[in-house]
Symmetry: C2
Subunit: 444 residues, 2 copies
């Protein structure tokens, strides 16, 4: 993609209305544009990143056997009255009347709707477990939308729902998502820690928030530092292995604000390992048994002519929010340098030729390099404008493709100036450059 | 995918509420589930087809240089007041008040919002042309939603917008979409004919509907039969070649209801070539010049300190509607046999083993075949239930994977019973089967 043809409206300076760095960068580099309070359009650069995150989220859902569906954004109030949440949910629910004066709403979450789908489709325990998910726009009418897409009103979310025959199987499903979340965030190059959390309006008594550390986060967390050294490697999609994974994490005290107990915190963690800090919630999983299935009559036939309500859990990942969360984790705002993880970078590499009106040889070289990149499925963005060199570099540092090929005046045979953001530039040939980038891409 | 693990709730009989065959099949085979009037959830089978259609639509947009963005579903009324359409649009627009009592709406189309994005981002003619598109849910509050997803209220649509410096360039953009639409529908194995059409609430004076023939269609069309023999082969993405393509189609009289002129029809078409029939609109393109750019002040700087309003067009494809349109075109409702085009089929092939309680050798064979398919990127659905053989065949005929491998009692060495839906079964080996399916997939 040539900068001159792209729709990447870059601002010269940081927008004054943005208070946190993800909001600043996203407006600055034209990833989003606000259309009204807490509601944004995604421009090509932001859209590309969000789609790559969505793809990773989807792949990890599919790996644990979840099936993708798509529920509508607009729901009838009827099912919310069945569950008893219609009145409870409060003003954050966007309530709508259609032209026939029917009470509708823009879904803030989908426990009711998916339970309705399940109860009309599945009749026998033999069809269990069922793991269903969708990735859809949701709306919560925040009283004070802020921080750009981090706390917007219309947001893009993956939510999954599990249906099981009893508590033991339901816990197995819960743990599958627990693993899949650890894997998902790892592929996004984020360290997200599962923390015991409150269940809030979803209900139930078992819940974890997945939180990444960030000073700008809205979640206060109390944790044992050693939990950051853990990972999910070697865990199998089996009951025992998943249980061990949970136990491995849960040996370290780690909770959000609502679950915090000072005494326990101090008893369970020795002083040097205590960490009280802030974080961003990027995922949240719940187990709530038969809360919805009982209220809405979602039961299955068991052997011996028995019947029972299915046991359910729900599992959310904020897909649009993750775009901001990754920026919060990776953007060096002092030096104005962003480096996207290669797995979600809008472009793999930027090509920055020095172009004068009288000398376009560097641009021609850039085109040739781009041609080779394309053959190797490496996506490049080329600054083909005649702006001065340093403002080109500055721009590409904001766009944040993790690699840069800089074509200046210096001639050096086949060697090119190649730089991984945050590291020293080196002079190597194109074949080596392609090899490095391909290896990085393959790792994800 | 094993039927026993899948979420494909199949009905024994045709649902009585469905009046047209696409609605019947989609409910029957569990592709969708209605959640309220004109609003549907997409279950895995329907979702897979819709996603494949979306992918083809996206690829063909990208090929003409359009860039993907994503605008929100909820819009502010302000921009609609600027364009003058807020009052005009009538009751089909779903109007919403948020908790702050601000007037919002669920976007039925996006001319205003994209013009707002453009005017704040692009300042110079040097950045033109710009072709922007998005694929997003829209809402039109139909008074009488009917025919399932063919005329629902919440629907999934690709809409694109072009921005050009003058009429000539704008027409070039218009013709790019004209070509891209012909190519898109061809990949969906549909014969869609561009017909001169009315512009309605979008405005402008140049417009084409792309229509496929179907008795259940809501559009009445008047056309010259010979237009069905045309195609876009050999057309290049250049002004002259695109103009010739338009001329090739426009030599044959072909209009929708609102544009119909009996005298012209009879004068321009000799009697044996006249065709008066019904069709389904699957795409609609418009050129409306500066209608929105003028009202909303979207201008660019020209050379010599001049300024002018950009010339715009808009281009829609009904992505969710296409799922139904393809069924209308391909489903043999008498024999209850569906054959999806391989490009959008939910599965490439179904494997139907005859399973008895005492003999699961056919299932084991099915698993082995599936393993080979998977290695070759061929997606199969396997009926691993112990239902009787004929009801298995019936089910797979409804699901509509275009190929079937039937594993019955007959042992015949390496030979398998292989059937392309609508053709004679033959006995060939697995290597040949894989070759046939791969060739078909590669052609799309």
């Amino acid at each position: 993609m040539f900068i001159s043809k792209s729709f990447i409206p870059i601002l010269k300076n940081n927008p004054s209305e943005a208070k946190i760095k993800s909001h600043q960068l996203m407006l600055r580099v034209g990833m989003i544009k606000q259309s009204s309070a807490g509601i944004y359009s995604w421009l090509p650069l932001g859209f590309k990143v969000m789609k790559k995150i969505e793809k990773i989220v989807r792949e990890e859902q599919n790996k644990i056997g979840a099936q993708e569906i798509l529920m509508p954004t607009i729901q009838s109030s009827e099912i919310w009255k069945e569950s008893g949440r219609y009145e409870d949910y409060g003003e954050e629910m966007l309530r709508i009347k259609d032209r026939q004066d029917r009470e509708m709403l823009y879904g803030p979450t989908n426990e009711e709707l998916v339970t309705d789908i399940f109860r009309s489709s599945v009749k026998s325990y033999k069809s269990l477990p069922q793991l269903l998910y969708h990735i859809q726009w949701k709306f919560r009418d925040e009283i004070r939308p802020r921080f750009g897409i981090m706390r917007g009103r219309e947001f893009y979310m993956k939510d999954a729902y599990s249906f099981d025959i009893n508590d033991e199987e339901a816990l197995f499903s819960y743990n599958k998502f627990y693993l899949s979340y650890l894997k998902t965030f790892k592929r996004l190059d984020l360290i997200a820690i599962p923390m015991a959390a409150d269940t809030g309006p979803i209900g139930g008594n078992l819940s974890h928030e997945f939180i990444i550390l960030a000073e700008t986060g809205e979640s206060k967390i109390y944790t044992d530092k050693r939990i950051f050294d853990l990972n999910s490697e070697g865990t199998k999609l089996e009951k025992k292995s998943l249980k061990e994974l949970r136990e491995k994490y849960e040996q370290f005290y780690s909770v959000t604000d609502e679950k915090f107990d000072k005494k326990e915190f101090e008893k369970k963690i020795s002083e040097p390992n205590r960490l009280i800090t802030k974080g961003i919630e990027v995922g949240h999983i719940f187990y709530f048994g038969d809360k919805y299935s009982k209220a809405m009559g979602a039961s299955v036939d068991l052997p011996e002519s028995k019947k029972d309500f299915v046991k359910m859990g729900s599992y959310g990942i904020g897909v649009s929010r993750l775009v901001g969360a990754i920026i919060e984790a990776k953007y060096d705002e002092k030096n104005e340098v962003m480096k996207w993880p290669i797995s979600v970078a809008p472009y793999d590499v930027s090509i920055i030729p020095m172009i004068n009106k009288n000398d376009i040889s560097a641009l021609e070289k850039a085109n040739k390099i781009n041609f080779e990149f394309a053959k190797n499925n490496i996506e490049a963005i080329i600054d083909d404008t005649d702006e001065n060199f340093s403002s080109k570099i500055k721009k590409m540092n904001l766009i944040g493709a993790p690699y840069q090929v800089i074509i200046g005046k210096q001639k050096d045979g086949d060697l090119l100036e190649f730089k991984e953001i945050g590291k020293e530039a080196k002079r190597i040939n194109l074949v080596e450059i392609i090899k490095i980038i391909k290896e990085q891409k393959a790792g994800n």
